[in-house]
């Protein structure tokens, strides 16, 4: 599988604070790539660099074959983005925002839009500023799919959501999984485990691991004695992540 996102030695510092250190990841095309780590691990910083919202201090990233620093409208037309921090135009009504976005993209699947709006129960006449946090995330999700992006970037899309809203959001993008590459950053390890094909573990701005779930299981095998688990049972993502973080704490070179 060819990589749709690649980073090499990606670093970002704010003054003396290093937010991301020498991160090298490769997101295969068609994968659901989960970037995981605790709050402050550097997940959002990496996503902002990938979307050319901030510049890296060192290193390089390519997205859809284009250097992240050169990402312009042509590349953005192929990327869907949903973030918990996304500042949507609060004074616009829901239907007006969809109307506006339809003209931003060369292709827009109106049927898919209608389907998503119905499924996520988005009130057309309400102003975006009047929507709840969960509704805004659903709205962002419904806006990120109808132009059929090649890459869907989800930055903490499940934070602060109740179980019902989570299911709706997850359902929203899972129905499109396979048609596009999905990069999702989250610290909700149990939820992500349901659909991720590849993972990257970040801890304090450093990459602990990246690869497929199968490679991850192989990678952490020394940390989990076989007796503790049955032959067919693999440790959970949470357990593997915590095991790696502890190992990294004991041995920084891990």
């Amino acid at each position: 599988m060819s990589a749709i996102i690649e980073t090499h030695g990606l670093s970002k510092t704010y003054g003396h604070f290093g937010a991301v250190h020498e991160v090298a990841i490769s997101v295969p095309q068609g994968s659901v790539f989960a970037m995981m780590g605790a709050s402050g691990a550097g997940k959002t910083t990496i996503i902002k660099i990938l979307l050319n919202l901030i510049a890296p201090t060192r290193g390089k990233a390519t997205v859809l074959g284009v250097d992240s620093r050169a990402i312009g409208p042509a590349v953005l037309a192929q990327i869907g983005y949903v973030s918990e921090n996304q500042a949507l135009p609060v004074r616009l009504r829901v239907e007006d925002f969809f109307d506006y976005l339809r003209h931003c993209y060369a292709e827009w699947d109106r049927n898919l839009e209608d389907e998503l709006r119905g499924q996520l129960r988005l009130p057309p006449r309400r102003r975006i500023g009047e929507l709840s946090h969960g509704m805004r995330l659903k709205m962002a999700m419904a806006c990120a799919l109808p132009f059929r992006p090649k890459l869907l970037v989800l930055d903490e899309p499940l934070s602060g959501l109740d179980a019902l809203a989570r299911d709706e959001i997850i359902g929203g993008f899972l129905r499109e999984a396979g048609k596009m590459t999905i990069l999702i950053s989250s610290h909700e390890l149990d939820e992500v485990e349901r659909f991720a094909t590849h993972v990257a573990f970040l801890h304090e701005g450093r990459l602990l691991f990246q690869g497929s779930i199968a490679a991850l299981v192989e990678h952490v095998r020394p940390l989990f004695p076989p007796l503790a688990h049955g032959a067919s049972e693999r440790p959970s993502l949470r357990a593997m992540f915590l095991g790696m973080v502890r190992a990294a704490g004991r041995n920084p070179a891990y």
Partner: protein
């Protein structure tokens, strides 16, 4: 996408556009209704609040349209949409052109036409004025809004820039004294203003480019701060300004015959010295003396920091109050219908060996009409006492402007009206103690004119001369497309000192003679007097 951004912003901001348009209509209505003599008191009273509302409303709308898609920060939704930055920026500017400038053009033009001014000159003036407002007010506010996240940040940034400007002004005034602004209070000040306006527009353009193409908010804000300081510290030197004005107005030889003649039999500069000036300032002849502390406060309130500082310095050194020196010379060759304006003079006193004992100028003082005989200069008291004893030679360099009569019109003294291309529309009205002459013109009003009340048999009251040099070209007024000017012609002297030839009983058949002057040539002359 341009039209969709425009449509989206219009959908959100049309109530605000309606409000700003209502303010513009209200302002033009108030100007129109208050008439030449403040006929409608309510409209005249509304002018000031409407002026303030005009500035605030337009600035708020410019900021609001930018904040629909704020630039600083990394979380704005538009940043991850395939929008062309150029189209976004153009859509914002087009929105402001359509929602602010277009109604402004229509209203201003309607106002000028309603006043009876012809279409083409009115249209030219209106377009120039409204383009000026767009480039020098709307675009800079847009740029500042693009470097801030919301209205609160914009207000704080605006206040910070005002403070920086005031501090720079005070620092410059303390450092350079009256020389901090060589062209201030002179007819050449428009060159400095033009430079400032060009600087503000270019700076705003650079900020918009930095923000929309690079989202460099830190650099943009630094540029705004540096630009505010530069507005004060970057000044056109006097000689450069004068040369520029000379080359713009051209040379026609009208001033060739003008020269100084030193009066025979008076060869000692010390012998030509008058008395000490009373009170606090140079130019003591201009108006009644004002107590020092009140004068300083008045100057500060009018934003004349340099003059206020000078006034304070003089008060601190009472023994250094200026001495008025009447020079033993006369000006020859001034045409009969001409006036001579002193834009600036530099004074130097030399000793026998050619060493400069004193050097000074009238920098910072307002330009004045020159007395043809025995011109007066001011020298600080201490410098005067030190230098004149040893002085053997006095040299005064004058930068002058010859004004020639452009037009002369007679208007009936009581309720007279006159309309002409060179003066605009003028009317007269009797007040309790004077005849009020008020005029409106399209564009910039004349800056030098005189009015004299004549009886039918040719007797006349003293001429009232108003001459505040302003040689501006192509720098329109901000608010008003019409220029206002006028004079009050007294009918009697409250103190019984002046003689007024025209009796009130003759007013019905009397007339006012209005003379308009125009600059003819700018030139320099040197007056040298040796002991």
């Amino acid at each position: 996408m341009f039209f969709h951004i425009l449509k989206k912003d219009w959908k959100l901001l049309w109530p605000m556009v309606a409000l700003v348009t209502a303010i513009q209509i209200g302002f033009d209505w108030a100007v129109f209704s208050s008439g030449l003599f403040g006929d409608d008191a309510a409209a005249a009273a509304l002018l000031r609040p409407l002026t303030l509302a005009w500035f605030i409303g337009i600035a708020a709308l410019a900021a609001a349209v930018v904040y629909q898609d704020p630039v600083p920060g990394v979380d704005q939704d538009w940043l991850i949409r395939p929008l062309s930055r150029t189209q976004l920026l153009l859509a914002k500017l087009a929105f402001l052109a359509l929602s602010v400038s277009l109604p402004m053009v229509i209203l201003n033009l309607a106002h000028a036409l309603a006043m009876g001014f012809p279409l083409l000159p009115s249209l030219n003036t209106v377009l120039a004025k409204d383009l000026f407002v767009f480039a020098c007010f709307i675009v800079p506010v847009t740029a500042l809004a693009a470097a801030t996240r919301n209205m609160t940040e914009l207000i704080v940034a605006g206040a910070a820039l005002v403070v920086i400007f005031a501090v720079s002004l005070s620092a410059s005034s303390l450092l350079f004294g009256a020389d901090w602004c060589p062209t201030c209070n002179t007819g050449m000040s428009w060159l400095q203003h033009l430079l400032q306006h060009v600087g503000v527009t270019c700076g705003a353009g650079a900020m918009l480019a930095l923000q929309y193409y690079g989202r460099r908010s830190g650099v943009s804000r630094a540029l705004a701060i540096a630009g505010t300081g530069a507005l004060v510290f970057v000044q056109i030197p006097w000689n450069t300004a004068f040369s520029l004005e000379q080359s713009l107005s051209g040379r026609n030889g009208a001033a060739d015959a003008i020269s100084f003649e030193v009066e025979e039999g008076v060869s000692d500069p010390a012998a030509a010295i008058g008395g000490r000036a009373a009170g606090a300032g140079a130019g003591g002849g201009a108006g009644a003396p004002v107590p020092g502390d009140r004068r300083t406060t008045q100057l500060l309130l009018h934003g004349r920091v340099d003059q206020a500082v000078q006034s304070l310095r003089r008060r601190a050194r009472a023994d250094d109050s200026p001495v008025m020196v009447e020079l033993p010379a006369r000006l020859a060759g001034v045409p009969q219908d001409g006036l001579l304006l002193v834009d600036r003079f530099d004074v130097r006193l030399f000793d026998r060996n050619g060493r400069v004992l004193y050097r000074g100028s009238n920098a910072g003082a307002s330009a004045e009409v020159m007395r043809p005989e025995h011109p007066i200069i001011d020298i600080p008291g201490k410098a005067y006492e030190k230098s004149t004893v040893a002085a053997s030679h006095l040299q005064v360099d004058y930068w002058l402007t010859l004004m020639n009569g452009l037009a002369e019109h007679k208007i009936a003294a009581l309720d007279g009206e006159l309309r002409s291309a060179d003066i605009g529309f003028c009317a007269t009205m009797l007040d309790r103690n004077s005849i009020m002459l008020r005029c409106k013109t399209i564009g910039h009003p004349p800056f030098c004119y005189s009015a004299t009340l004549y009886a039918p048999d040719g007797r006349h009251d003293p001429e009232v001369l108003k001459c505040i040099p302003d040689y501006r070209r192509h720098v329109p007024e901000f608010l008003n497309v019409l220029g206002f000017y006028g004079a009050d012609l007294p009918l009697r002297d409250r103190y019984g000192m002046g003689f007024y030839a025209v009796d009130e009983s003759e007013l019905a058949s009397s007339y006012v003679l209005l003379k308009i002057y125009r600059e003819s040539e700018h030139f320099k002359r040197t007056l040298a007097v040796s002991r």
